[in-house]
Amino acid sequence: MWHGRLVGLLVGLSLAATAGTAVAHPHVWIDMRTAAQLDPRGRVAAVRIEWLFDRFYSAYAREDVDTDRNGGISDAEADRWAATALGNIAKVGYFAEFLIDGMSQQPGGASQPVGRWRDDRLFLSFVVRLPTPADPRKVTVGYLSYDPDFYIDIRHPDASGSATVEGPGHEACVAEVGRSEPSPEVVASAAALDKDATAPSGLGRLFADYVRVTCR
């Protein structure tokens, strides 16, 4: 009888092991800069996201960007690519997530795509809007930008100043980049409180930078 149980145990173990190991790891990375945009009333209304792709991805995408196939990439060509790319990432919420007062929110929209070709690296910037502006003096305001599938590792470089605040009264505000934030409790409460929002998930979120905006 013992071998029947043993086989059962082994089957269970192997299924459990395989479920945990079938995860991908990133092959592309992005150096990111972000700037929270204040509205005239001092509320965070949007975040400008700037991505500098690595040379590997840039080399891959180059064919798509160089539409006239002359070997060089003009600003107009890069801008056209940026507009297409922004349209493509719309369906995944622009790889952005806001955390307002502990609740996860998807961007209300995005605009102003800009593309450039800088030192053999592809650059993309765009602005994501909060569904409703949030006042950092009243509630906690934070945001993340990440690829849930974790094919792309998107991070602020370690240098300070890669996350800033812009707009009226920005002198009174700071944007701090942290990792392993928000805490699992915040995520859990966010998921429980806001049933309508897409559940924040995915391996990429574990590695994501969390930027918190605070104002005096």
């Binding site: 086989v7 192997s14 080399a59 590695f207």
Partner: protein, 305 residues
């Protein structure tokens, strides 16, 4: 009593070691997420260095620069293979269920890593250069090859599980513990040995056919920088690094398997039941793994690819 102690000594020591290590890590407050992040940071740092080294080589190559790119590629390959990933899961599950000889487990790991690199080179140079396919189309083709390889994983799993369930009981000659490996010439190969070899080749084809995505990107960068030779050399170094890391894993799993078999062993009947059990479990594991990967690879395309 003494035989019982002797039989269980090795696995007991191993279990105590692993248990002690795990509880020490847990007690000192090591967060598994932190370990995963640390690994990813290391991988990322190497990716940065590799891209810098390749871009630097465009302005003229010297021995130091080339060696730098090759060693970074080797390290990237080795680290690439540490942590979660499909190749390792397939290799270790296969070895756990169906590979009795450690050298063959290690050879499978090495050969499949090298072939994955080779497939990437053939895809990029063949599809892009000979057939004039765009990079997008080439990556699309690579994705289809990948899906095919996951289907093969499912098939391999079914074959191994079926073998464990319905296959004939191997004769005494098949037992790895008793048959000296070196003396098996092609004339004295037993039925079981021949079957094992066929399964080995099937596993190699299944794992090896999937092109290494990291290698694809290195080759694309090489093409765009006009450094094809260097890119191919870096891919070779990367594959060697991966081979080394996965070989270590395969060797460990294979020794674990044999320790387990020997520990429980004793009567011939028990050993057979255990071997069959392992085959069935690993076969089903491979089916589940292949199906999971296939579903994941058939999902919506990444919005930036």
């Amino acid at each position: 009593m003494t035989t019982l102690v002797r039989r269980w000594r090795a696995p007991l020591v191993l279990a105590l070691l692993f248990g002690g290590l795990a509880s020490a890590l847990w007690a000192s407050g090591v967060d598994p997420d932190a370990v995963a992040r640390w690994l990813q940071d290391g991988r990322l740092a190497l990716q940065h260095r590799l891209s810098d080294a390749m871009a630097g080589a465009r302005n003229g190559m010297d021995i130091a620069g080339v060696l730098g790119a090759l060693t970074t590629g080797f390290g990237y390959g080795a680290l690439h293979a540490v942590g979660p990933g499909h190749g390792k899961a397939v290799v270790s599950t296969y070895v756990l269920g169906a590979e009795r000889r450690m050298w063959r487990a290690v050879a499978l790991a090495v050969a499949s890593a090298l072939i994955q690199g080779l497939v990437a080179v053939v895809l990029i140079l063949g599809a892009a250069e000979l057939l004039g396919m765009t990079r997008r189309a080439t990556f699309e083709a690579a994705a289809w090859v990948e899906r095919g390889s996951y289907l093969l994983v499912v098939a391999l799993g079914l074959w191994i599980a079926g073998r464990g369930l319905f296959g004939r009981t191997p004769s005494h000659d098949d037992c790895a513990v008793c048959a000296p490996v070196g003396r098996l010439s092609s004339f004295s190969v037993t039925g079981g040995e021949l079957r094992d070899r066929r399964t080995w080749w099937a596993a190699l084809a299944t794992i090896g056919i999937r092109p290494c995505s990291g290698a694809l990107l290195v080759l694309v960068l090489g093409e765009s920088l006009g450094l094809r030779g260097l890119a191919v050399a870096v891919v070779a170094a990367m594959s060697l690094g991966t081979a080394l890391a996965v070989a270590g894993l395969a060797g460990a799993v294979s020794s674990l398997r044999e320790t387990l078999v020997r520990a429980v062993g004793g009567s011939e009947e028990r050993v057979q039941v255990l071997r069959r059990g392992l085959s069935v479990a690993a076969g089903l594991g491979l089916v589940a793994l292949g199906a999971t990967l296939l579903v994941a690879a058939s999902g919506p395309k990444h919005p930036l690819l």
